[in-house]
Amino acid sequence: MSIPVALTINGRRHALVLDDPRVTLLDLLRERLDLTGTKKGCDRGQCGACTVLLDGRRVNACLALAVSHDGADIVTIEGLAESCGLEPGQLHPVQSAFIDHDAFQCGFCTPGQIMSAVGLLREARSDPNLDDDPERVRELMSGNLCRCGAYLGITEAILDASARLRDAGAEA
């Protein structure tokens, strides 16, 4: 079974031919496209380590079949900054806030946390008070497990990045 799948990943068009419809978006990124920043923590939608932006929305890449998303636009941690028009080597405000607030330890869940945070900030555009409320951030980041226990820093980083973005008149 050969299935053509066209995907835009981090701004680059990929015309792929999949030999197997079982390939998830996560395994496609990690095992076939060497985009290994997106992590596999559970493979069952229970940890959030594989979070990517799919057509602008945060989803678990482990529970998405690549063939079902033919034509989609995907942003992973590797392409986050550039997808926002930043130069190579520059960090997205959420990325730099994660460093400043020590919002990770081992760093394994971090790409998923950051992509989830960016997705959350975009969702917040239709709910303007959302990102000012730490309790809402905590609730809406609860799909991203962190076994090292960096939750405090994660929440602070997101609130900080949100404020920085708002001050700069920019969107996540």
């Binding site: 030999d19 197997d20 079982r22 390939v23 395994d27 990690r30 095992e31 060497d34 985009l35 290994t36 920043g37 997106t38 992590k39 596999k40 923590g41 559970c42 493979d43 069952r44 229970q46 940890c47 380590a49 992973t76 941690i77 590797e78 960090l91 990325q95 730099s96 994660f98 460093i99 400043d100 020590d102 990770f104 330890q105 081992c106 760093g107 394994f108 869940c109 971090t110 790409p111 950051i114 730490p134 309790e135 951030v137 905590r138 609730e139 980041m141 609860s142 799909g143 991203n144 497990l145 962190c146 076994r147 090292c148 226990g149 960096a150 939750y151 405090l152 820093g153 994660i154 929440t155």
Partner: protein, 758 residues
């Protein structure tokens, strides 16, 4: 694979105590993580991110019985699946040079490596399917459809016969007594006896155990997360009959370890065997559900504490009995009683351990092994006795403050626990706590409870080596096979190296996480910074001494005649101690000597004399607020304040994160984690992240860690104690005690579940 990483600019963090920062020193500075930029961009390569050319994917099939034998596997069905290259079972698995049940080396445990058809626990590997794609290997493993000859299994403390293990923990005696506990209890004016159950827990680092294995003749190249590179080399060398020096392991980043990556486990060795079998590189990643069995866990405990106190609230006796479990085939016994040896003053002290053998994987070191479970029970029991005495729980603990280690009678190397109590209590607002339970409500009518617990963890030293190099361009290099599990070795070790070499941290390159580097021991026992850090300090000191020798013996140097002890290294220059205006750049000293670089080795080891004379522990006090819905019983830990004294602080930002992480593990221990074995089959029925619950972000609304300053002249040259594990201790008891304070209900089975509060 980067051995080195770019340096992130330090950001100011004024909230952290400036007292830790010494002028001109990297140590004490709250530098941000040097690996931060790699980790936030996805560029940090973890083991499973590697993909050497020609690599195949391997997936384990694991047993669904806990005891018995594999009768059949449908190897033909798996082989017939397109893309499947090979099926490795006990019939074709490469023979090993040493049977995996032959252990003998310290920290080495028996492994199930397809050497026979027996099953000793559920989720034990029984076959490996190797395929061109991950999808094919995964389905191939399912198609094996094993059948078994199952035998009865036991997976609970009640299901097996008790015995007294020879040793508990790392070689400790199971039973220890000082004084006369029976007499102490008889003399008591108040006494309590209570039994506490703690649940089996599985480490579940976010990064599952993974290996990418590549053979080149008899040389072996591995990407695998390791908390002990040298021990991993030795174990693998023994199994395959090859030279440890021919095994090259890359482990620059661990996606969490918590002890479980301190040993090489079956999944990693099976990946190596698979690579040998097919003659191609192989990647094997443990599936999440397979993390519940073959890679260690914390055994359940049932602890009975009998405590007595006189009318002034002084302990007259502490009797701490632990029932725990190991596997049917190997020995690891959670030493829960040991925490009672060190914490509270008592004339009569007895700790006893019994165990049963269960059809589970072998338990292992899991973040604060012994201390976490033991502290959970002891801190609950102490709270119960304080209540019986009508005393405030903090006042009761202070009344029983141990000026010397109760078990040994030794003085402490340092102990700022009183400061921890005072500062934590003040910050938390403990003084306004009513003694009676079920007296606090918040504005919404939720029950509010305040509880506290004492935290403690031994300050250990292990063995490590390191190499320090000064380059003619004025930069430094620190090399050692150290491990960053997230605790921050990439950053803290550079800070230690920078101070040792008299350089700015940005001018020091650090190479860690690779087995070719000097043996840095293991990252465990909260001792890695103390041990490997001391080795770095020693190596850097030796390098500076050698550099000084070059200068002070050279008439052309401004330092000529200053002698070894007469110089000080700072900002890339050696200065005469007697006249700091007279100085010379490292680069100039090396250039004149015609040296491109200068290296020195260093090492660290326990100081036997100090250990004989002193007891060394980190201490802390944890204060917890819980809110509980009065009719529905749902619990939330709404506030945690921990104050900890753990010697010198290399990097307060990272240490704060370690304390947070430890305290969150305490929340998890108290309210969430519980591996549920079906008593009929022995299988873990919640081997996933939906039902094996760990806290989510919403469970952690507010937390604070106070870093109490403490100078310790004895533990090691840096004065560093460990910070990685202490945060769990104290916290579990504090939460359980807060639940009691909120509800008036003592829940002695952890994790505490809501139906017990209805």
């Amino acid at each position: 694979m980067p051995d080195t990483i770019p340096t992130a600019l330090p950001a100011a963090l004024p909230a952290l105590a400036p007292g830790h920062v010494r002028h001109g020193s990297s140590i004490g500075q709250p530098l941000t993580r040097r690996d931060g930029a790699l980790k936030v961009t996805g560029a940090a390569r973890f083991a499973a991110d590697n993909h050497p050319p020609g690599m195949l994917h391997a997936v384990m099939a694991v047993a669904s019985i806990a005891h018995g034998r594999v009768q059949s596997l449908d190897i033909a069905a798996a082989r017939a699946h397109p893309g499947v290259v090979e099926v490795m079972t006990s019939s074709n698995a490469p023979k090993l040079a040493r049977h995996p049940d032959q252990t003998g080396q310290p920290f080495t445990y028996k492994l199930d490596l397809l050497q026979d058809d027996r099953v000793r626990y559920a989720n034990q590997p029984i076959a490996v399917v190797i395929a061109e794609t991950l999808e094919a290997a995964t389905e191939g493993a399912l198609l094996l459809r094993p059948t078994y000859a199952a035998e009865p299994s036991s997976t609970s403390l009640d299901q097996a016969e008790r015995f007294v293990p020879d040793t508990v923990g790392v070689g400790s005696p199971p039973n220890e007594t000082s004084g006369d506990v029976a007499a102490g209890l008889a003399d008591a004016d108040s006494r309590i006896e209570a039994t506490y159950d703690t649940a089996p827990q599985y480490h579940n680092a976010m990064e599952p155990h993974a290996v990418v294995a590549r053979w080149d003749g008899d040389r072996l190249f591995l990407d695998t997360p390791s908390q002990g590179l040298s021990m991993a080399q030795a174990r693998i060398a023994g199994l395959f009959g090859i030279d440890a020096a021919d095994i090259h392991i890359e482990s620059p980043f661990l996606g969490g370890g918590f002890g479980s990556k301190g040993a090489v486990w079956a999944p990693q060795v099976l990946g190596i065997m698979a690579a040998r079998l097919v003659g191609r590189p192989v990647k094997l990643v443990t599936r999440r559900e397979q993390m519940f069995g073959p890679v260690g866990h914390r055994a359940p405990t049932r602890q009975t504490l009998r405590l007595g106190a006189d009318r002034d609230g002084h302990l007259t006796a502490v009797d701490h009995h632990t029932l725990t479990a190991s596997s049917t085939f190997d020995d690891f016994f959670e030493p829960s009683g040991r925490v009672s040896h060190t914490l509270y003053e008592t004339p009569n002290l007895r700790t006893t351990h019994e165990a049963v053998r269960l059809d589970t994987g072998t338990p292992f070191f899991m973040r604060a092994p012994g201390e976490a479970s033991g502290s959970a029970a002891l801190e609950s029991a102490v709270d119960e006795l304080a209540e019986a005495c009508g005393m405030d729980p903090l006042a009761f603990r202070i009344a029983n403050y141990a000026e010397q280690e109760p078990k040994s009678g030794k003085p402490f190397t340092s102990k700022k626990l009183r400061d921890c109590y005072a500062r934590g209590a003040e910050r938390f607002g403990w003084a306004s706590r009513p003694l009676q339970p079920r007296t606090l409500r918040d504005e919404a009518g939720l029950l509010v409870g305040w509880g506290m617990g004492t935290a403690s963890f031994p300050a250990l030293m292990m063995q490590a080596t390191a190499r320090a190099t000064l380059h003619a361009d004025g930069t430094g290099l620190i090399e050692l096979g150290a491990h960053d599990m997230g605790q921050g070795a990439w950053t803290a070790f550079a800070q230690i190296g920078a101070d040792g070499l008299g350089l700015d941290a940005a001018a020091v390159e650090l190479r860690i996480g690779n087995s070719a580097l000097p043996n840095a021991g293991m990252a465990g026992g909260s001792a890695h910074t103390a041990t490997a850090g001391s080795a770095i300090h020693d190596a850097a000191t030796a390098a500076i001494r050698a550099l000084a020798d070059l200068a002070t013996g050279d008439e052309r140097s401004a330092l000529f005649g200053a002698g070894n002890q007469g110089v000080v290294a700072r900002d890339g220059r050696l200065h005469r101690k007697d006249d700091e205006q007279r100085s010379e750049r490292y680069a100039d000293i090396l250039a004149r000597a015609g040296r491109a670089s200068l290296s020195a080795d260093g090492k660290a080891a326990p100081n036997a004399a100090n250990q004989a004379q002193y007891a060394a522990h980190a201490h802390g006090a944890v204060f917890a607020e819980v809110k509980i819905h009065p009719t529905l019983g749902q619990i939330r830990v709404t506030r945690l304040v921990g104050a900890f004294a753990a010697g010198a602080i290399i990097n307060p930002r990272l240490v704060t994160s370690q304390y947070y992480g430890g305290m969150i593990w305490g929340v998890s221990f108290a309210l969430h984690e519980h591996a549920l074995h079906d008593p009929r089959t022995g299988r873990v029925m919640n081997a996933n992240f939906a039902e094996y619950r760990v806290p989510v972000n919403a469970d952690i609304p507010d937390m604070e860690a106070i870093l109490v300053e403490e100078d310790d002249p004895y533990v090691n040259a840096l004065g560093v104690k460990g910070v990685g594990e202490i945060g769990i201790t104290g916290t579990v008891g504090a939460i359980a005690n807060a639940v009691w304070h909120a509800t008036g209900i003592r829940v002695r089975r952890l994790p505490i579940t809501l139906e017990r509060l209805l």
